[in-house]
Symmetry: C2
Subunit: 257 residues, 2 copies
């Protein structure tokens, strides 16, 4: 019993598909199988033609693409589903919540940049500089990531980088109070820098900078230093980042003595 083609229809001859033969037409016409070309005979065949059956990977890849193109607050489950050619509810089979998608997307971009070859105590400054630079580059290449950094970074790709950083520091000879502080300082410096830069670049940087400059000049009695030196943004992001990093590394190196 129970069997579903309740109304005897040839189901399995390889074509046709005979999707929902009965259904008694339903109470409401309800969109009614898209246009009038819904007759069995025009249906492609093999059910869902060639859709690679929608994996979590495919969802994440498409989410990253959507985020890159339209930004963080334009990511909605519906829009994402539409790009994937499915219904929004289907996504919830592969993923528990929207936050899952964000976490996965965020971790996935860290896979884009390789690690410097194995930690080497003698080259720790170069290795850390390269690591941290790649980290920053990835975050800036996907500016939406900054807005989303306020969640635990515990995905495999992030952990790979964190592991490398700790291993490098250990190999360089740093021990406990300094070890934690070094990892802490480096991570937070990168995160903070990226967050700030992405924040400003997200809204037409030049215009924003000019508005800020004007605002400061108009209140130069209250902000004399800022008015004179210009707004503390966008002077030369790369140079400031590099210089600040050397401060950190210099101070770190000195702590070993």
């Amino acid at each position: 019993m129970v069997d579903h083609h309740t109304r005897l229809v040839v189901v399995n001859d390889g074509e046709t598909g005979a999707a929902r033969a009965g259904d008694a037409d339903g109470p409401s016409t309800a969109r009614q199988g898209r246009t009038a070309a819904g007759d069995v005979w025009f249906r492609p065949s093999r059910a869902r033609r060639e859709t690679p059956p929608l994996s979590r990977e495919r969802i994440v890849r498409e989410a990253v693409a959507l985020l890159d193109e339209e930004g963080a607050e334009r990511l909605t489950m519906r829009r994402l589903a539409e790009r994937l050619g499915t219904g929004s509810t289907t996504l919830y089979w592969h993923v528990k919540t929207k936050d899952d998608v964000l976490d996965l997307a965020l971790d996935s971009i860290f896979g884009e940049v390789g690690l410097p070859s194995g930690p080497d105590g003698g080259r720790w400054r170069e290795d850390l500089t390269a690591l941290v630079g790649g980290w920053r580059a990835v975050l800036l290449r996907h500016p939406w990531s900054a807005a989303v950094l306020g969640r635990p970074l515990m995905g495999p790709n992030v952990l790979d980088r964190t592991e490398f950083m700790h291993a490098t520091l250990v190999a360089a000879g740093f021990t406990e109070p300094h070890l934690s502080a070094a990892a802490y300082g480096l991570s937070n410096y990168v995160i903070g820098s990226t967050l700030m830069q992405a924040t400003w670049q997200a809204r037409d940087e030049e215009t924003a900078r000019q508005a800020a400059e004007e605002h400061l000049r108009a209140r130069r009695d209250r902000y004399p230093t800022l008015a004179e030196h210009g707004p503390p943004i966008g002077k030369d992001w790369d140079a400031s980042f590099a210089l600040g990093l050397t401060y950190l590394l210099d101070g770190l190196e000195a702590s070993k003595l």
Copy 2:
């Protein structure tokens, strides 16, 4: 003249008020002045009793309270309005969008911590340490702020602090490539640190830490260093912050030579 008792009602004796005498009962009963006790005589007095007529300040103050109590994603215009005893739409007269509320709330908390007394070239390390420490303390006292840092910080309270920082650096003798990089490095270090710490503390830190530790130990072949030293979180936030700050300041100081 001028006197306002339009309908010959003694208005100014301190009571009664005669709020909306006419109104012809309106076309739709529509909730009908809350319950049946809507008769003029039972109405409090003085029109809108004692509501301080809902200023932008009041909105921001209440928004901060709401954020403190319930977190960033529980802030909605409706809930905020309810706490203020008004309808949600009313808020939009004082504020253009919800983001305005966030910007104002974020800036307002920076007013909580004072500035060290005027910049003094000789005490720049102490002054900057104090400034940055206060900054961090405020952000941690309002953990929702971290999730919201991805927006331009250009409010008056933030600018006061930024001005102080720049003035201190100038007074200390830093000049251009270093001046920008120093301000950049310090700000971003604080922001990154706070963001990370608030992120973890937002979800029951001890539990999260244990879960992370377990996760790492289960994969100790992939993350040997991390598994051995424990997850790179929550060891001692304050100490790591202070130590990292000294690295930065040491490196900065060395750059002056």
